[in-house]
Symmetry: D2
Subunit: 368 residues, 4 copies
């Protein structure tokens, strides 16, 4: 009898633990259920065009080929932001770009490969596409991925702990050097819409101010904190800024006034530096962590969570529970409907325990 | 008006995050409540003898003095296994050791120092002593500490994540070198009674066998796993052994037969090596991680948890809720009665999800 | 007989290993020679004004007080860029700033404290001041400090290895995430005048382009490299940019054209991104490592070198060899005249072995 | 015209940086010289039997296949201690093992594969075999590998810096936990014949005693050091023991008296613990780092050195300079005759600068 064939893919931005999910799903799928597992290249890209081979092309995964990937960052399957089959980007005859619907090709190729199911690991965008493909008859199981931990349907997402750890270690280092000087250090961390990374790293890394999207800031309380610290003999301050941190209405930062001045390059951390500089008599230094938060070997926590997700996804496939997404609830792995899953986002609760903890140990959020 | 004076102490074995608890409690106590906070040296030792000054003696903690400790391993207050005031070890005239009850001295010194409350950070032993001191009228709030995460009353304890991370990184390294050779690597990790560290690190570090106290092992299935892997072209295997891992009844390891042969030095990892060696035709190497798992900078997770514990302990003191121990339940900090807290231990559930995950990805526990 | 009193200070920018030099000098000075050692606060600041106590003030160092600092970043003595006694910054009556010569006060305080010698750890500026103070009769021994490793008189300076390690780990992480995407990652590292950090980290971190001050770059060869890699199926590239990297004459980067557009904030990495963006059809991401390269625990190499420097400085003082600076030559510690020492800077040799190695493995410097 | 074919192999024990040497040689060989490069499996094993395919078999290396290996521990080519073609282990008819000379097969297969040269990366054993194969007409270039840094012909070997770093971090961690307790921590590190790792890590990690093969120790001075520290209020001590550390003649450690008591398992660290325990009134804890020192991502220093070695090996091949081994001398890469290279070993000089430094900062070697 022919073996059951299951495909697996990764979509969206990079996230430590993607490979560990693949590892978990492939080991359980092959060793326990006797599947053949196809790794699809660059999200759905490898299903849109079976001849797609850039840089690798689809690959049959084995127990041995996934062995070394557990501890590695990135994803061996690649990922893509330009592989939505319902809005596939093509170049028109006149050189402009347009989008077409190539989802039928995905369905066709899925059948041609004799696949029984697809495990899709990805974020909001990937889950939205997954729902549409399910409607077209492809049996899909989802694994949630968001480094920002901003998903309501699961207690925690893999990759977040690693990102916070990298940011915390960066804060430890700038604190070392800040302590030796009279200086304000600004560290910009990830978090466009949710401030979980900034909040956790800020507490763990001993920040004096934490600026997050959920709590619009004014510069005055931050300047006051810096000055009060100096008056108390602490000559330096450390400020963590989420990339989505925003000033309160009516208070535009200096940087924003400069119309057209490379908005792409002028990040939230630099805007704070630009505005705060004239208000305090201290040197300012900005560090932008950027993508180093998305790379590197996943932490033990993220690996264990990712392996459990991979195992659970394989089990959902084996039991035929399609249209479901794995989730962590109260320490146990369970599943939710994909539709429900991507509906609700999680945000830092400005009145929650953790913000409260930060305030209690003397951190300002710039909203006082 | 005189300020409220609160004492804080750390007891039992070392654990990453002890300093972060002190940091959290002191910052909240001083900045929010205006306390004076006395750091007591070497658990109750500093209260048994106020002149005790070895190596440091008691110290008044300040916002500035706790600033740098957040990220540091160890405890600035020291700790001791020989400071139980109800069984205080003294040397008799004839040179032998005996124990006496000096708890009244603790009560007396507590009053002499004009203390209002005591925050006791420690494990089982410390909490047992705390209960007895509460009975003698000292208002105590407890903070649980066990690197093994074996406490039923809280979802997680600080230090555990760091210990697992260190063990996981060690496994990554031995796997690197094992892959290049035909070799079986044994890594002994902490866990006398509970195998959580071995289980988590084993999954995260890609171990082929995980031996824990909760699941007595036989050597045969382990030898079979090693041989099966070789037959499949995987020339190496990695075995994680908790220090409390035990062979099944009736199967004593070779090491145990050697009566008196330095039982203190012959750890669980070496016993497995000793027994497994003759059964397989491969080189064996043993690494004993020992105390490097207890030291070093705590992970972001442990720091945040520890700071929250410290804050919660300060709040319990301020609200006068004595006899309580802080706890984490479902992601929120709460408290439980100290009496209840230390009553129930947590063990790895041999039929729980995580053991199941390990088996599903092909790990043996030696009980098949 | 009164003990010999020796002062020690740290000046200039932060550098991993400063504390290890202090540790080495103090341990040898106290344990071997029986000195008393005074730690002077904020470079010469603590000698300009003995009452200066911000944040700490001068401190007598002991074997025990230096024990824990070996592994710590920063400097327990603080440092300052505004403590040149020959050009001491003061505020005039009209609110403007001016400078006065307070070097006589330093000499006076040196005598008042009954000091026999001064160990000055610092960079160019500190050594220049040291020479002037020597001329005024203060017996000084120098320890060179430059994280950029740009000093001709010593084979290597402490702190450099740690900075390169941090940059290398950052490159590892962005490479992880770059590999999963079609993307160009730019990492800006330290190096205003010398490109050693960029060169070493670039080779160690597998960069595709390395831009350093010693080799002015054009954007075209870099864009060609990115495109050639894509054509060969490697969809990403990693570029390391020293903060002092400069485009070749006649080719101003886009960023530089925008007169007045926050030159302080627009770093070399962002300028490259700005110019390269329009030339290639790929996403660009910039990471600015900034001060995280200056903080954190020094590497084993930097610690051993720093301890040796500290020991050698103490020995020079004991032997009365003032006006000398310790140096590493061919693996052995020796000394050079301070005057000679700071005269010659070291730069990356564009025709040297290491640049050659980088080119041989396919790295572009943008000058082809 | 057919491309030049060059083989590359790795032999002996594992060492961080092996992959980086392969990376350097392959990139230069392919990109600069246009070679085809064959990776030979398990040292000469893959040349003894071309059908050998356990676990991988020989593989043609490409620019892309070596891309990800620069930062990885281990060796993608495998290595073996049982592949000496002049003493190849075979199983006799009666089940016993014997050795035969299969070197002619290596020569034959070398020709069959149309190879022009062989790059052999390895230690003493590998270089001895290389010399014999050169005598049989195989053109070989050598790359030295010894994690212990005990080779006289080169200033430093790759892997050593990484091993010292891992040992130093372990010392940092046990020091953290030792400081909180009244305790003596023993850490056993690599070094059977040479104590460089123990010496460097001991200084960098703040050890109180360093025991190395080059300086036979007595237990009394070590016990005195521990007691003197206690008397001075420092309640803990850290001892680094190289695995080859030996007691002075006439003083056998307790452990050695126990005839037959698992000499394989009773390491140097445990022997010291066993003997020292009765002499001091303090808890003792032993950590055996073992193979975690050989694994993990190589440090920036080791990567750069390894890449330079790889490049230099490729250049020697291209220039036809066979029988040479690459070496680092005074910061520059050069080469020496293989014969000369493996002749002279390097040992810690008991009267050298570094031992002197250690003594000056108060470290005991147990020989006072």
């Amino acid at each position: 009898m022919a073996k059951k064939r299951v495909a697996i893919m990764t979509g969206g931005g990079d996230c430590p633990g993607l490979n560990a999910v693949i590892y978990g799903a492939v080991r359980v799928g092959i060793a326990r259920y006797g599947w053949e597992v196809l790794g699809v290249e660059d999200a759905t890209r490898g299903l849109i065009d079976l001849a797609y081979a850039f840089p690798h092309g689809n690959q049959w995964l084995t127990l041995e080929s996934v062995r070394p990937i557990l501890s590695r960052g990135g994803t061996i399957l690649g990922t893509s932001n330009r592989s939505d089959p319902f809005n596939f980007v093509v170049r028109n005859a006149d050189g402009t770009e347009g989008t077409i619907d190539v989802s039928d090709r995905v369905v066709e190729n899925f059948k041609k490969l004799d696949l029984s199911a697809l495990i899709s690991i990805g974020g909001d965008g990937s889950m939205r596409i997954a729902k549409l493909l399910i409607d077209k008859g492809i049996p899909i199981v989802g694994v949630p991925k968001t480094i920002d931990n901003d998903l309501a349907s699961t207690d925690q997402t893999f990759g977040f702990d690693t990102a916070v750890q990298i940011a915390t270690e960066a804060l430890d280092r700038v604190r070392d050097t800040a302590e030796s000087h009279d200086r304000v250090m600004i560290v910009e961390v990830m978090g466009r819409d949710a401030g979980f990374i900034a909040l956790h790293a800020g507490i763990a890394g001993g920040a004096d101010a934490i600026l997050i999207p959920e709590i619009p800031y004014r510069l005055e309380p931050i300047a006051e904190t810096v000055k009060a610290r100096r008056a108390a003999g602490q000559t330096y301050s450390v400020i963590v800024v989420a990339e989505g941190a925003k000033p309160k209405d009516g208070q535009a930062s200096v940087g924003e006034h400069k119309a057209g001045a490379m908005p792409r390059l002028m990040g939230a951390g630099m805007r704070v530096a630009d505005g705060l500089g004239p208000m305090i008599a201290a040197e300012l230094r900005v560090t932008v962590l950027g993508h180093i938060q998305r790379g590197g070997s996943p932490s033990n926590y993220d690996r264990v969570l990712a392996v459990r997700y991979g195992q659970a996804a394989a089990e959902l496939v084996e039991r035929g529970e399609f249209g479901r997404m794995v989730a962590l609830r109260g320490g146990e792995i369970t599943s939710v409907a994909i539709a429900e899953a991507s509906a609700a986002n999680k945000r830092v609760d400005p009145r929650g325990q953790l913000v409260s903890t930060a305030r209690a140990i003397g951190v300002t959020f710039g909203d006082e």
